[in-house]
Amino acid sequence: MSNKILEIQNIKREFKMGTETVRALKGVSFDINAGEFVTIMGSSGSGKTTLLNILGCLDKPTDGKYLLDGVDIGKLERNELAHLRNIKIGFVFQAYNLLPRTSALENVELPLLYNPTIPQKERRERAIHALESVKLAERLEHTPNQLSGGQQQRVAIARALVNEPVMILADEATGNLDSRTSYEIMALIQELNQQQGKTIVFVTHEPDIAAFSSRTINLKDGKVIKDSPNVTIRSAKEVIASLPVTDDY
């Protein structure tokens, strides 16, 4: 595989806290190819949030090289990073971060509003299409408080898909959900990865979730301690099927 979406080489990130220097990342290197489903695992303080911020172009490394889809991040300034996020990355957050009192459709349209090259008609079509692909075609006009947690997260995933990014970056995307809904979200993400070939980077601290991905990177104290492909990938759909039937969904 030579189709590298993401290349990081010896990335370091240091924070100055008063007189002390906190070294959150102490030289991290790995590549991610198109179509991979990678989970980044690590306990609290392992540097995974810092790494996520850098992968998401929200932050820049103190040292080291980061190429996203062939673009060197280190050379870009704030506005260029914003543009890069707009066209190349789709974010999914733990707390969904949907705009309140705003319909699902308008929430999904949001990234496209910051891309002036997309006309209004196409924006709407793409948003509807993205919501269809997360199976929310019936809920276009619902506002977040009219949707369940799982549905809200699916709206957020649709929002991450709508700009057709090279990579979807999920930050503890199932952290706020019960286990059944978590599996449903994972099933959706697996489907996007396997059927539509989306590249997915999933940051989590739950080993359970990591089992659904094709590759796991373990972080500890700002370093990669393990980076291995999963030999047996669990299917989230099968897990759901094996769960006892409940009345609440």
Binding site: L58, R78, R101, Y114, P116
Partner: protein, 406 residues
Amino acid sequence: MNVINLLRIASRALQRNKLRAFLTMLGIIIGVGAVIAMVAIGQGSKKSIQDQLSSMGSNMITIRPNSNVVAGARLDAGSVQTLKIEDVKALQKQGQYISAISPAASTKGQAINGALNWPTTIQGVSPQYLDIRAWQVKDGIAFSDADVTAAAKVCLLGQTVVTNLFVGGESPVGKIIRFNKIPFQVIGVLASKGENAFGQDQDDIILTPYTTVQERILSTIYFQNIYVSALNEQVTDAAVAEISQILRVTHRLKPTDTDDFAVRTQEELINTFSSTSQLLTVLLTAIAGISLIIGGIGIMNIMYVSVTERTREIGLRMAIGARGMDILMQFLIEAILISITGGIIGVGLGIVASKLVTIFLSWPTLISESSIILSFLVCALTGVFFGYYPAQKASRLDPIDALRYE
């Protein structure tokens, strides 16, 4: 980032919080409404004062013969006789800024009615004189142009003359009085005009056709004054220039000659009036400024709260590709939308309020377009001015911190 998208983003954000947006607007609405209504009331009263001043004769222009030098000694103004009936006719014919004209020839003398007598002034004028001075005939009738042609011995009495010549509430109309032994029939009594600005009693006068004074009392062809009424205060200066020009021609003056007449306006009256209305304008502008500043502070306050409350939203917007400038513009446009919408509603409210004032309090109001345009512009500027700082604060947030803001 195109403007239409920004407008869409900002208006969607406002729609999410309709009540808050409206309450914020309220400051602007009340401010602008108050300004429009106040200016309307101010302009209305200004207009009615103006009308009253005109009725008092603030647009009156007086023409007098100029002073003259005889054998090296400068004589009194009016010591020379230069104004004749030809001047009056020329002015009547050619004057474009003149609405009424009356010559005047007057003299002092003793008025006698039976056993009572009173020293007073008899003034010979044309019927238009009453219009120029905005003087009403209280009782009886005014004399006519026919009386002027005939040099009729008819007269109108001022109130002071009536009081001194007629006792016991006797009506003077129809009675004969004598002035310097010439009998005059009283055909009317003038309304009281009181004292003028210099304490002269304006009611101590007898009015009669100018021909009567010229031919029967003074035996002259000259006038002491010509009174002219300009169309309105604004054209007074133009009327003065016009009068000078016409009179120089009728007096056959060479370009090097000085005027042999003097033209005077009621400058003092006009100045008093304009300084009063200027004070009113300054006062209203001050109130306008204060109310709009308060409205603006309201906007700033809410925008600050809004930026803090929506920190996570701002973080999200930045994460999905909004640049600092986009965030700045969004919040700025929100502020401007609030202030402009408030401005529009405020203008409507102000117009309605001034109409209501006219209907229920019967105060005169005059809605001026300039006040509408001005307060509207000030509104938009208020939005920019008070929206900028919170917007800038929002645009400088760090997306990482903003996304995790609790």
